[in-house]
Amino acid sequence: MKLVFHRKRIAGTLVVVPANERSFAADMKNFNFPKSRSLKLKEVMGFDKRRVVGPDVCVSDLAVFGLEHLFERGWLKREEIDALIVVTQTPDYLIPGTSCVIHGRLGLKQDMLSLSISQACTGYLIGLIQGFMLLDQESIKKVVLVNSDVLSRKVSSQDRNIYPLVGDACSITVLERDTEGSVVHANVRVDGSRSGALMIPAGGMRQPHTLETAKLEDVGDGNWRAREHLFMDGAAIFNFVQTEVPPLIESLLKHAGAPMDSVDFFLCHQPNRFMLEKLADKMKIPRAKMPNDVVGHFGNNSGATVPTVMAFNLGERLLREKLLVCLAGFGAGLTWAGMLLNIGKFDFNTIIEYK
């Protein structure tokens, strides 16, 4: 589905990462594999360091910490938030939505909109789409988009398929109307028939928590996980990304009338370095235009990898200048989306640590 937005902009992005850093080298001992094979995997996939929360830290903790940081520095005023969108698949509670939890903890005004959206690695783009739509309302002048997950709390440390890549983070993006004639193009797709490829099978209403669902099971290839842990069919997801994302982006750029080489950077969700290198090669994009080192510094922090790459790879630069970028997200659902827009001249664009 193609979408177009007029006169909307990203005013700034802040990413909160936990101070707690884990290394692939330290985690290797959990895996039932020879060290040499794990080291080869590290080299190819780009796994190295990642940031993970402690056992009692929730999305709202990271978000409140980040929003207070913005208030203290005067980059955002509490009373000017007209809509708060929180995109997460690891909510604090089943009820209420995490946006209401954050709203209450910050003491935000009552005359505003609070939305909680369940989306994973496409979540940042879905949140932007929702935020840009809300800005068409006369009464909504400023939207705060929080995209955060603490998925490290839902993965098995004995599952080499997923444990070494998962990180936690919280991105906070401020959206507002643009006085310039900017145009944002987006393209979003979904295929729920493949939802089983990336899921947490138990712990919800379909298969509620029991002692059995919490028990580690031998799932083959030397991996152990419980049904309450995140499951990923790595081969199916890899194939999905390589098959579906290039035509989506080509269609997006064609619709926007933007040649591939006019795009300064392709800022994609980052599951691992190998996947992005193959994606860049497939689309004949120079690898330097598609940064892939967030996963090695912070881990795959779900949808927040996209704003993390903005802040980590283009931090200072986006304070000074404007760049034409193509954002891309893909993951659970299965969902995938692309967005072409000019970003830059941000009020803020940085990464801080949650301690």
């Binding site: 094979r37 190819v44 890899f238 194939n239 990304v241 497939k282």
Partner: protein, 76 residues
């Protein structure tokens, strides 16, 4: 330049790859080994095997890998 067999031996030295006609079904390569193999093949032949070609049937045996390399532009 290394041969396909050399690269396979580096990844899983404990197996005799000439004795199998289906490396994945026989448990000699798992999905992560395939990723490591693709990266090594790319480097060795100066190519980039397409992501959509990274499917089990292209890594079943030596003949399948050789065919994939030719399709990907490797001069072997």
């Amino acid at each position: 330049m290394k041969s396909i067999a050399d690269i396979l031996r580096e990844i899983r030295p404990e197996f005799d790859f000439s004795a199998s006609n289906d490396f994945l079904a026989d448990g000699m390569l798992d999905s992560f080994d395939v990723v490591t193999l693709v990266s090594a093949l790319d480097k060795n032949w100066g190519i980039s095997i397409e992501g959509t070609d990274i499917v089990p049937e292209n890594f079943k045996n030596l003949q399948a890998i050789e065919a994939l390399l030719r399709k990907s532009g490797a001069k072997i």
